[in-house]
Symmetry: C2
């Protein structure tokens, strides 16, 4: 099945927004094995939209429209397609009730033009809008399937996943479920990960294994198809197991998990509190942890010891250490971790000191980083890293390394 | 002049990237008064690209292509257009030399297929690529102008601005310069700003005034056209003056300035150091300041006093204040600002305490924020805010308010 995606909206042609809907749909259609051969963007203009539809009819078996389903007179996707297909637009009673309910719920008066949103192509399958008012719809005529989706991504995406995709799978004669799972890794590069599991990626067709990368992390998206949801999940489990046998020591979580969320979760689970002394990260580690609701149960706080005087006066790193070893040193990291822990009465103290750049510091190159971790039970450990990249990348990677060190500590030291 | 933008690249049809090139070009073409009526995306396939070009030829006077100029056999934009237009591809000697120089500079061996990148449409105007290897080109045949640009945005954007846009202006018979300037505001809402200068926006056609918004900030983009660069800048100056007469007290900077950059810059200028006590912001304020290279000259550091015990033990807020006034109080903000300043030996102490949510705290609603600012010269001031939005928005707005308070302080207290 060959598809074309037509986005309707003058805001796209004025460059006010990018066509992220086409990107989203293309990715999802690719998973279904549907070839997307063209994207078209056209403005809120009936004549040009009609022209775009005629061009698409000559080259696609599936045409997905996004946008132009709203209440204003500029919204004319349904009207144009109805005219082209010689179909009536009729009020869908369920959609109308849901629009009325939407206004009632938000305490607003429903104006007459909002009724227009309940109009649908006669004989089409309605795709419910659970995040807005305008319903979507799909209809097949003369061997071409037309699917109309709303423009706002927060309405379009859930509608497509819940109602649009199953409709297409039905059309394709597939009664499969698509289940996907993202495995997240830290501490291993993308190319290393791909090399380690190259044969798995190549041999595997169900589930497919696709690497994703960003910000010092790597992830793998596994996508399985099976008519039974349980079997699809079993396929994912099996592939996951094979992958983790190879690179499990770098694995930290699933789907939208982050290292920071995982760290807060594990600290809560182990009932441990944390404090941080941040030099090169300037507060980034604590900022990320405290961005998570409920972090206050485990995050005590800490000291941003950017200036050496703050390291000395607030965190009691002796001046002699700062002058002989330097601020960027194993010894300094050790003392910072120990002293911030006791100062803030935390169970775990962690410290970050290093060179974020752009210039070297104390004769140490950009990317030199020391992370100290202190607990009352064990001797303080210091990890020395040489990180690639520039200032921002070094800072965020340092903070993430901090999480991975804490996670290891929590798994090991407080086991059982 | 009516235009169509054709992006060539299978990665777009697979949903791996969004078509941000079309967005960028659409915005720039709109500034020139060129109507963009269609965007098309097509894969790396000669037949379908040819089809897309034929469709565009029937409806556009300007067709801009992005992508498909690289060295691989999948890159076939030039070849396809040459065939369609009946034009030869010829080696451009300057482009070839620049490609050879590029390889020499990066110490890599130039493979034979890279020569392909120096091929251009015979008789076309070459658009130099100063950020990559493949040159762009433009040619007008049978009343249609074809412009070919590379796919990577970091090559395409500067090429278009420096060479592509002047070519189009020449075509349009315009010998104008386009100058634009962004004015940045904080502390005023988008709708308030628009209301305050509505008549200016409406009356103004040169420069045009377009509002931009995001993250609690508002900006205005002024775009002026004039054949003389000096006159274009004068037009911008005049409009800017009219705007700032109305809303100048919210203005903080130009173009890619941020409140954090401006704060570091002004602290350096006034030779003042700063320390922060961060409760609800959890380190975000210091993280943003220290993200700026050279921040170490003025940022001493501070304390992330997330737990009340840290406020008490490290920053000496009496337990009585925490129990009677509460951590979220004017009195607490005052003491935090004063004590972090003295603890870190800074010229300015700033504090952030409040309720980021999701739940209320001490009976105070989400969005309640106190910011304290302490200097040795003046009595400590505390600003009470009630911020809208959720956790992340409240935290970043609080940090930005901190900047605006410091900027006001620096302008007032250390004047002259």
């Amino acid at each position: 099945m060959n598809a074309e995606i037509i986005a309707v909206g003058s805001e796209l042609l004025l460059g006010q927004i990018a066509n992220t809907n086409a990107q989203f749909l293309s990715e999802k259609l690719a998973e279904l094995g549907i070839n997307v051969y063209f994207h078209t963007v056209v403005g809120d203009n009936a004549g040009r939209l009609e022209q775009a539809v005629r061009v698409a009819q000559a080259r696609a078996e599936l045409i997905i429209f996004t946008g132009g389903l709203g209440p204003t007179k500029d919204d004319l996707t349904k009207e144009t397609i109805a005219r082209l297909l010689g179909r009536e637009l009729v009020i869908d009673e369920e959609a109308l009730r849901s629009i009325e309910a939407y206004f009632a719920r938000t305490n607003r008066t429903m104006t007459e033009n909002n009724k227009k949103q309940a109009l649908v192509l006669q004989g089409s399958t309605i795709l419910k809008n659970e995040h807005g008012m305008a319903p979507g719809m799909a209809i097949t005529l003369n061997s071409i399937t037309y699917m109309l989706l709303p423009g706002p991504p927060k309405e379009m995406q859930p509608m497509f996943l819940k109602y649009g995709r199953p409709f297409l799978m039905e059309q394709l004669g597939r009664h499969e479920r698509i289940e996907s799972r993202v495995l997240r890794f830290f501490g291993i590069g993308e190319s290393q990960l791909e090399t380690d599991i190259e044969d798995l990626i190549d041999q595997q067709s169900n589930p497919t294994i696709a690497p994703l990368a960003g910000d010092g992390e790597v992830a793998l998206r596994l996508t399985a198809k099976h008519h039974s949801e349980i079997e699809a999940k079993k396929l994912l489990d099996k592939a996951e197991q094979a992958i983790l046998e190879r690179v499990g020591r770098y694995f930290y979580g699933y789907n939208d998990e982050t290292l920071f969320k995982k760290t807060v979760k594990m600290l809560k689970e182990k009932k441990k509190t944390i404090a941080a002394a941040e030099s090169l990260t300037g507060g980034l580690f604590l900022t990320e942890l405290t961005a998570i609701p409920g972090a206050s149960q485990v995050v005590r706080g800490g000291v941003v010891c950017y200036a050496n005087e703050v390291k000395e006066k607030v965190l009691h790193v002796p001046a002699s250490v700062l002058t002989t070893d330097g601020a960027v040193s194993e010894r300094c990291a050790q003392l910072l971790a120990e002293n911030v822990r006791t100062l803030c009465h935390a169970d775990i103290g962690i410290s970050f000191t290093g060179v974020a750049g752009p210039d070297p510091l104390e004769g140490k190159p950009v990317g030199t980083v020391y992370i100290g971790i202190s607990t009352p039970e064990n001797e303080t450990e210091v990890y020395a890293l040489a990180l690639p990249g520039q200032r921002d990348a070094i800072r965020i990677r340092t903070a993430k390394y901090g999480c991975s060190i804490i996670l290891k500590k929590l798994a090991a030291a407080y086991e059982g």
